[in-house]
């Protein structure tokens, strides 16, 4: 589905990503973990073709990503960004319809209207359809954006979905719902790539985890393979304890005692 080869990104004299290689398949949920400034967002921007790599390749569905037309790419991958404030007041259904823009010229087809309804149902925002986006709470806004992103690739079940910290600013219930939805989408065949901060969320929902530090890969593999005290210390410079938990294959991560406490 998406294959990253020796990816390097340099801005000025700073190397933000260094010879990164990995692969994500259809039906897989890949979580990207890393400290602030580790290069997660840069990687996401490269994968979405917001910026082009300095060296190396990103191969999306067997073709280099820069060889796609923008409109072609828009029908096969969608992106949920972190910052979602808008200055113009759009209604919720108008905003979700924007996800269908790559699919029609001037007037939406019947299918487009149908997909907007389905996407809103799936994300549980049908009742907000006629509300002004700017009057919604942060959690509701995030779900509206997710509905838009989902509508964009609804008819393309092996598309790629990029979620940049989708649980940011959400309460526990919404966080849970957001990740459950991401999981469902992956099970349906989408390739979901997701930046996360919560290690336990990542190990609970993801098929694979990629750990980044200073633009380099620390570890990549299934949660059981990569969740270890060493990897986490290497990635986040914190000490943690692992705790086995009933019903989970992967141990829970909890912070250890602060080291230099007397």
């Amino acid at each position: 589905m998406i294959e990253v080869n020796e990816l390097t990104y340099i801005i000025g004299r700073r190397e933000l990503l260094h010879r990164l290689s990995f692969e994500a398949k259809s039906g897989e949920l890949l979580a990207i973990l890393g400290a602030n400034g580790a290069g997660k967002s840069t990687l996401m921007k490269l994968l979405c073709r917001e910026i082009l790599p300095s060296h190396g390749h990103i191969i999306f569905r067997g073709k280099q990503i820069q060889h796609y037309k923008l409109s072609e790419l828009a029908r096969q991958r969608a992106v949920l960004s972190q910052q979602n404030t808008i200055s113009v007041s759009f209604k919720v259904n108008e905003l979700v319809m924007m996800g269908r823009y790559p699919h029609f010229e001037q007037v939406p087809a019947v299918r487009d209207i149908e997909v907007v309804h389905l996407a809103m149902e799936e994300t549980g925002i049908s009742h907000l359809s006629l509300r002004d986006y700017n009057t919604l709470s942060g959690g509701e806004q995030q779900r509206v954006q997710l509905a838009r992103v989902l509508a964009q690739v609804y008819d393309c079940p092996d598309a790629c979905l990029f979620l940049d910290e989708p649980t940011n600013g959400l309460d526990l219930l919404y966080q849970q719902q957001m990740m459950e939805l991401a999981r469902r989408l992956a099970d349906r065949g989408y390739c979901v790539i997701c930046i996360l901060h919560d290690i336990n969320f990542a190990s609970r929902f993801a098929d694979k985890i990629l750990m980044l530090k200073e633009g380099k890969k620390v570890a990549m593999g299934s949660p059981v393979e990569v969740i270890s005290c060493e990897n986490i210390h290497e990635t986040f410079s914190i000490n943690v304890k692992l705790m086995a938990c009933e019903g989970y294959s992967c141990p829970l991560v909890i912070p250890a005692m602060i080291q230099n406490r007397l």
Partner: protein, 337 residues
Amino acid sequence: MTVLLLGTVILSSCIGAVKISVPELLAILGNQVGITSLTGFKAQQTAVLLNIRLPRVVLGVLIGAGLGISGAAVQGLFRNPLAEPGLIGISSGASLFAVLMIVLEVGVFRSLSGRIGSYALSLAAFAGACITTSIVYRLSVRNGRTVTTTLLLSGIAINALTGALTGLLTYMATDEQLRTITFWNLGSLGGASWATVTGLLPFILIPVAGLPMMAKSLNALGLGDAEALHMGVDVRKLKRMIILMATMAVGASVAVAGLIGFIGLIVPHILRMTFTADNRLVIPGSAILGAVLLTLADLLARTIVVPAELPIGILTALIGTPVFLYIIITERNKNKL
């Protein structure tokens, strides 16, 4: 809305120093096209309608449409409902060059055969608009990306500079030149003739046809540059096209009719407040409503103090300012909540 525009056009064609009734209007037009051979109107009415009033009404429609539509497009581009084409230096560049022409009374231009000579002021104003806008645009492009904040800031800087230069020229001007400058700055459709209409036509028709096609992309741009890109919009090309078309419409309008403020600002707002923020409606709607408002304003301008006429810029500002203040106040109250 199209009906509204048609009504306004008929109304404006009929009212004026020489009154023409609707049947008379239709009879004159019918005769010209050759469908009917009705009589019952005076030769004077025909002359007034065809040579004076009609070109003026058409000019009002064109300029109103141009100002309205570019206002809507520029607001979409900046994702800011308070933006106006003037912000990126279009109007100030045009007025600097026009004043330059008036004050220096450039002999070279005068001696350029009579025909081009009479257009010199308009041409200079249009050239000025193109120059300042391209400077502002160039300043705001970094690594092939148009940075909107920089675009706005460079616009403000250029506006200040051209303002100062215009001031300097005004200071140097003679009394008679000052009068010309003032009237030009206030705006007027008084110079209307079929020649100005045909000269202006392509500069308005291209944006009026082209900008609505970008409405969808502009909606996407409302979510942010990156989001629009993710939805398959070529953001760089979109921004360039919008600036180009807005300069075309506004630069040419300013060149013909002087500075007419507020149409580009308030028209898209009225539509957004009453209907929707969807650019697919706001952009074409702004062209129509802009045409209606400017034609009506011009009707007022030439009938309110008969036999003299008021500069139209005064009227649009008189109506525009309260609306502008209303927008600011409601925005402020909304943010408080």
